[in-house]
Homo-oligomer: 131 residues x 2
DNA sequence: CTAAACGCTCACATTGATGTCAGGGGCAAG
DNA sequence: CTTGCCCCTGACATCAATGTGAGCGTTTAG
């Protein structure tokens, strides 16, 4: 398939797909006239890239983890493994951070509901002191 | 305390603290000469702002949730509540996304370790097909 | 009083993924 | 051949939070 179809199938813009290739995240075979051609593997690959980007990884990080254009080698694999473990830790602590933010938000929601339940027009007085 | 102390106590740069004020996330009392002064509540507040920003909220979203400069009113509170619930859902789905990315990463790590354990120099051939 | 350390505003720079526009070519159907 | 739709590259624009630096006032310690 060409880039337009890959784009509609993955929901990722043509622009972004070319960008991924530019960053070494995605390879494509080119037709004689230079048009990019893809297969089913590329669809999965793009989905994975999206998942990683959405999780806050930078494209260069993803590129370092993915032996995508370079020769596979023990050295490279060990390097990738280091980065993967670093990123895994980052994702875990990002989840913790989001969980903390969500719980703080829950307190705010509760306070706000209490405020709305009251009849007097009192200060909710939000400073975060209640968390 | 003045801005420098708030900065060191929260780990947030002076620049960012002024930016927060600019965006309506933080209020400060000013000395006659225009210098910002803060108290303990501001420390908590800044920490909360940081938690929200780190969780991927935009400053305008935080501003909408926080009746910080505006008069508290039922209308405002209801509006804030709507946004808070929207954001809560966003945070939850962000956590799901990160969890999915982390699990994909775990597969990659495992594959990579298998590759490194082998003695032959075989293709790891990563396309994401294994997830 | 002076100097160091701090604060103020204004304004321009940066980063990363993506949008958008321009100018030009590729390819199938009528 | 022309029409229409797809593709190519390249370049500039965007957003959001933050960095950085200039130019100038303030507070504090000696």
């Amino acid at each position: 398939m060409r880039i337009g179809e890959l784009s509609t199938r993955t929901g990722v813009s043509r622009r972004s797909l070319r960008y991924y290739e530019d960053q070494g995240l995605l390879v494509s075979s080119r037709s004689p006239s230079g048009q990019r051609h893809y297969d089913e593997d590329h669809v999965r690959r793009v989905r994975l890239i999206q998942a990683f980007l959405a999780a806050g990884m930078s494209s260069s990080t993803i590129a370092e983890m993915a032996p995508c254009m370079a020769e596979p080698s023990r050295h490279r694999a060990r390097r990738a493994l280091t980065i993967m473990n670093r990123e895994r830790a980052r994702l875990s602590s990002a989840m913790d951070g989001i969980a903390a933010a969500r719980s703080a938000l829950d307190h705010l929601i509760e306070d706000n509901q209490k405020y709305l339940a009251k009849d007097t027009d009192d200060e909710p007085g939000w400073t975060g002191a209640e968390g």
